[in-house]
């Protein structure tokens, strides 16, 4: 991400088109994709619904990850998170008539997503949040808006090429994650770390044999260090990313589903993908259709 920005800057400066061309390339205000912000959105929602309250406040709090390049990432000096999840957040906010700079981004880690939603710390969670039956018992999850699968990230010269090769090997991921649990079932020794970046360092340093999590996240890291790392093994699980909302506001489900559908139909979803995850070289997939709201 940072590299491409630098490259774009050098290119622009070199061509002497500095001001006019580069003005658009920066993303000072918000995301990488222009989203049409709905006008007078409040009137289109039913009285008493959470969406109307949010639209009238003109402010929404969204929980995203800060440590997953491509998905949801915020560097120490960035003022806005970048990635596919924040883009989806901007799409949803826009449908409420909320500008990108009025979104309050809050970092959520895997452990605190349900508690944050239940306590009202965040209005929605878009944080590589796989839809599961257990989670749907405590919070609402609308979607999926993206489907990925678990893969492995290994050193460039690693001998691991199939899933069977991980038997007895040390594989790291984030402590407590589903990915770690899954790889343990394949016979690997699970090694949990607090963040994905620490785990990537362990692979680079040779302290563990591989890292595992959703392919989308791994591709982001492989793209950052193509000489040292590669993604191995076909996806061996299905993770359906959904948008989390509080059970206190079940009406939010239909709004999320409708807004996602609209962005898929008008091509904004695809643009958001190309600007984020698409940069690691994967083709833009066909958007998944969301589950019906009950």
């Amino acid at each position: 991400m940072r590299f491409t920005t630098t490259k774009a800057f050098v290119l622009c400066a070199g061509l002497g088109l500095a001001l006019t061309a580069c003005g658009e390339a920066g993303n000072s205000g918000g995301g990488d994709v222009d989203v049409d912000v709905a006008k007078d959105a409040a009137s289109s929602f039913a009285d008493g619904s959470r969406m109307k309250e949010l639209a009238e406040d003109g402010k929404i709090t969204i929980g995203v990850k800060f440590d997953q390049p491509g998905i949801g990432f915020k560097g120490a000096t960035d003022d806005q998170p970048q990635g596919f999840d924040p883009e989806v957040g901007r799409i949803l906010a826009a449908s409420l008539g909320i500008e990108s700079d009025k979104i309050v981004w809050k970092e959520t880690i895997s452990d605190n997503r349900e508690p944050f939603l239940q306590a009202g710390e965040v209005d929605i969670v878009i944080a590589s949040y796989s839809i599961t039956d257990e989670r749907r018992k405590v919070v609402g999850q609308a979607g999926p808006y993206y489907v990925t699968g678990q893969q492995l990230l290994v050193a460039k010269d690693s001998s691991i090429s199939t899933l069977a090769d991980v038997k007895g090997k040390e594989v790291c991921s984030v402590t407590g994650s589903t990915s770690l649990d899954n790889i343990k079932k394949e016979g690997a020794v699970p090694r949990g770390f607090d963040t994905y970046s620490e785990c990537v360092d362990q692979v680079v340093d040779g302290a563990v044999d591989a890292m595992t999590t959703d392919g989308a996240i791994l591709m982001g890291y492989a793209a950052e260090q193509p000489d040292a790392l590669k993604v191995a093994v076909d996806p061996f699980s299905e993770e359906r990313y959904g948008v989390g909302y509080s059970k206190d506001h079940p009406e939010m489900c239909q709004w999320i589903v409708d807004a996602l559908k609209k962005s898929q139909d008008d091509g904004v979803w695809a643009k958001a993908f190309e600007a984020t995850l698409g940069k690691s070289g994967v083709e833009t997939p066909t958007p998944p259709s969301a589950d019906a709201c009950s």
Binding site: E134, T175, G176, T178
Partner: protein, 229 residues
């Protein structure tokens, strides 16, 4: 709580790893901390200086940072302790991750053991050491035969607090590749978001049980060691 009971072997395995971390680094910290305390009260200025510098540095550094130093920083410069994986003791061999965690916990806890013990040494009547020296015992013998046994007896209470803190500090290893109790609890809550509270309670009880076992043994020891003054 169903999640815990239906995976009870996982629960027990997690706590055995917690206990293993505690026992290994506890013994390490008691041994190294005692050596440090002897340095601090000993006659060699260089060793005195080293021990007090060590205590100052380590006691003022958060445990998490010491973990980062040994489990992430050390690995980067090649101190990965991989060689331990080839050593087998009674058919059991430790992983490099286990060793790195134990080193971090030992390094940290030693400073506290040293200080607790030093206060015990100070409580030993000066005449005791002088008498031992008067009959011609060298420093090592004065410490091991006369001073330290009395010092240990005097600090059973504070030493228990240091050990109890160590039990709970093992949970930091959850973020450094150890699937001990806290890490396993996180897997449980991640897979069973609807049973968060029950899972938390079950793991909290596990820690309470271990701490209480240590506390009760310490009370028993204290009663046994009590001397009339």
């Amino acid at each position: 709580m169903d999640a815990v009971f239906s995976n009870f072997d996982e629960y027990l395995k997690a706590f055995s790893l917690t206990i293993a971390l505690f026992v290994v680094s506890g013994i390490g910290a008691l041994v190294f901390g005692t050596i440090l305390a002897s340095f601090r009260v000993g006659p060699v200025p260089l060793l005195r200086g080293f021990a007090s510098l060590y205590v100052t540095l380590v006691r003022n550094t958060p445990l998490l940072m010491i973990f980062v130093l040994f489990a992430i920083g050390g690995v980067r410069i090649g101190w990965n302790f991989k060689f331990v994986e080839d050593i087998e003791v009674f058919g059991w061999n430790a992983s490099a991750f286990f060793v790195r965690s134990c080193i971090a916990l030992t390094v940290y806890t030693s400073a506290f053991v040293c200080e607790a013990l030093r206060s015990g040494v100070n409580s030993v009547d000066l005449g005791q050491a002088e008498a031992a020296r008067a009959i011609g015992l060298p420093f090592m013998k004065v410490m091991t035969l006369v001073v330290l046994p009395q010092a240990f007896r005097a600090v059973i209470g504070p030493m228990t607090s240091v050990i109890v803190a160590l039990i709970k500090n093992t949970s930091v290893a959850a973020a450094f590749g150890m699937a001990e109790a806290t890490a396993t609890m996180r897997i449980f809550t991640n897979n069973n978001a609807d049973e968060r509270l029950g899972i938390f309670l079950m793991f909290a009880i596990g820690y309470v049980v271990i701490v209480e076992v240590v506390a009760f043994s310490s009370y028993a020891l204290e009663r046994k060691m009590k001397v009339a003054r």
